[in-house]
Symmetry: C3
Subunit: 190 residues, 3 copies
């Protein structure tokens, strides 16, 4: 079978099982962004150096989970047969607790960035939150698997915690947001 | 002429020819995402090593095509004068066939990633599909150049095929999606 | 306090001050994309080599400003207490003028890309324009801080000018868009 079928050339596609939907349907948007996040994680893994292999293992597991979650989002809402395992939420919480315990406590926002891996993890965090917003928009129109939404909510906190831990192991200090900027030029004269 | 005219500061801008539209108009969204994809391809080219120069040439050609496609999306719908050449779709198909013929056959989903270039090509694939969704949304409101939609549909398959081929030439095996995740912790005990 | 409160697991969250909104509210979309842009700038900084330190300093300042701007977008619209300082717009204009003065003049579109930093700055440019479109969408529903919209409009021109300057200091020529593509195969025979 050829990769391209040309059947989607007018803008219509299929869900699992074959029911037809427009490509701008809220379900398609949601699993499309799931796929975008998944692709970004593929890149994030490429950015891990040997010191950061622990992330590679975890990110690959998350990629698998995102496909399970994507399956549920691509399921027609009439007779859903969900496969996403809510226990994955608990696993994320354990990892967040571990990373948080090994990073300095903060009570302010930090500038996203630092080491290479921290920076790409922060980007993953914000794509995850974009995905979450789209699942919430979908949920207003059709039933969804609530465990998937929980997972995605926790996942962005996981990426925040992992990004901070990445800076810890790379000996990079997070920089704090310093509210109420003055003019840049003037600041330089200070 | 200065780069910034300040005329768009209230949120209104112009299409080709000068007709006024809101910056959140569906046409502007579509060619804005075309531009985002184009910028990502610029980065993808930067990620190509000497072993991957074949991609650079093709990506630059695609960048040119995306501008032609963007032109058509930025054209006012009353008296459209389209420039996008549908023959480009055939060119993509030839490239997909070539890359597919030189990659192992698959009958399962793969985790996006692998080599650096494969990873960024997968990201390009998902931005292309986001663009496609937005063109489909636009098409519900206004006439579009149908060849552009076809091209964009084929382009995401091109990026998939190219990503797989990138892993082939880098001797990286694609990892399969293994449906129905168990809990991570438990899996480690297996 | 734990990073995750689980309170947002059903799709509702809070603005500054505590008023409840859906996570797909237009305000949340806008400051969520502000956050995505901010994360991308963190990555852009990672891509700067020693020759490009001037960008690092400026990008960090912009990250701080984006948090101020994000604050205003996350403020409930009833009793807004804005903090974004419009003087930042003037600072961007000065930088655009400087970068433009030190780059070859152009009267055509260029293909986004070139050096690594130029490429990631072009991506920043297009995320900024995506953000601008979302702020314009929000503005149709609720009052916003107009200075933030001005800033974001100017910011995408800043990234364009900075990307071009990055290519100048890296001795890379920008490639022009050459309107009206022919078929790729045939072009090679030329
Ligand atoms: C949902 C879906 C997706 C989702 C996956 C959702 C998720 N879980 O996150 C997303 C959006 C990620 C996706 C992406 C792609 N998909 Co898709 N997808 C589907 C769809 C609608 C359902 C598949 C499914 O999960 N079925 C439920 C399971 C339980 O049933 P299953 O049949 O056993 O599922 C298996 C196969 O469908 C699939 N499979 C079988 N043969 C092939 C061949 C290829 C090349 C691929 C990639 C997959 C594939 O692997 C699954 C087992 O893991 C089918 C069309 C349909 N209506 O069946 C297309 C389909 C499988 N996809 C297809 C394609 C081409 C792609 C993309 C290459 C598109 C692109 N250019 O990006 C990518 C590949 C992504 C990757 N990483 O491998 C084609 C495959 C054509 C072919 N050669 O066989 C199909 C058949 C659609 C079509 N064009 O007709 N897809
Ligand atoms: C559509 C459009 C776009 C689209 C292009 C769509 C596509 N094909 O994919 C997108 C969204 C990509 C785009 C991006 C930008 N654009 Co524009 N765009 C336009 C618009 C509306 C039409 C241009 C067009 O295609 N006309 C049709 C062709 C056939 O006519 P043309 O006049 O011969 O087109 C030529 C020029 O318009 C253009 N050009 C001429 N002078 C200059 C100067 C600069 C600096 C640039 C970048 C281009 C440019 O090059 C074309 C030939 O290739 C014009 C405004 C208008 N209403 O004309 C602005 C305009 C050309 N853009 C402008 C700007 C500033 C930009 C950006 C720098 C904005 C940003 N910060 O990202 C980028 C640059 C992108 C790049 N890679 O070079 C300005 C240029 C101001 C100037 N100094 O001359 C214009 C005039 C809008 C304005 N502010 O008034 N744009
Ligand atoms: C708006 C907002 C955001 C915006 C910021 C908008 C902008 N300026 O661009 C965005 C979307 C970027 C954001 C992101 C995040 N946020 Co937030 N955010 C808020 C919100 C709604 C208002 C904060 C604010 O600006 N208040 C106005 C100022 C003047 O008041 P303030 O109280 O003095 O503000 C200070 C603190 O709120 C904050 N702060 C205090 N303790 C902590 C602890 C942590 C871990 C963090 C990150 C921040 C933080 O630092 C501010 C001073 O710089 C609060 C919830 C609420 N209703 O208060 C959550 C809140 C502060 N955020 C929270 C979290 C978890 C995050 C993220 C980690 C989420 C994620 N996974 O991505 C990221 C972190 C981003 C970063 N780079 O540090 C949590 C913090 C929980 C905790 N452990 O204390 C809160 C309390 C929401 C909640 N879950 O209940 N957020
Ligand atoms: C940290 C703050 O970020 C906001 N918030 C919560 N979820 C999202 C999301 N998916 N996208 C953008 N913003 C979000 C809320 O206002 C929260 O309090
Ligand atoms: C491979 C599967 O991806 C879905 N699909 C097709 N086009 C898009 C798009 N632009 N964005 C997201 N999903 C898409 C369809 O369900 C198709 O069968
Ligand atoms: C350069 C051209 O880009 C378009 N334009 C202006 N602002 C945006 C934006 N935020 N997103 C996408 N396109 C935009 C207008 O058509 C302008 O003339
Ligand atoms: Mg959350
Ligand atoms: Mg397709
Ligand atoms: Mg502008």
């Amino acid at each position: 079978m050829k990769l391209y079928t040309k059947r989607g050339d007018q803008g219509i596609t299929q869900l699992i099982g074959g029911s037809k939907v427009s490509k701008d349907d809220k379900q398609v948007i949601a699993y499309g962004t799931m796929d975008e996040l998944n692709a970004w994680l593929g890149y994030t893994m490429v950015c891990c150096s040997s010191r950061e292999v622990l992330f590679i293992k975890e990110l690959q597991e998350i990629q698998q989970c995102l496909f399970d979650a994507g399956h549920d989002l691509a399921t027609p809402t009439k007779h859903p047969a969900y496969i996403f395992n809510e226990k994955q939420v608990g696993w994320l919480e354990q990892r967040i607790d571990f990373y948080s315990a090994h990073s300095p406590e903060i009570t302010q926002f930090i500038l996203p960035g630092g080491s290479r891996v921290a920076a790409v993890l922060h980007v993953a965090r914000t794509i995850t939150r974009r995905l979450e917003r789209q699942i919430v928009a979908l949920q207003k129109e059709a039933p969804i698997n609530g465990s998937v939404l929980k997972y995605v909510n926790r996942l962005s906190d996981y990426f925040f915690a992992a990004a901070r831990y990445a800076n810890v192991i790379n000996n990079v200090d997070d920089i704090f947001y310093d509210s109420g900027r003055k003019e840049f030029e003037r600041r330089e004269d200070d």
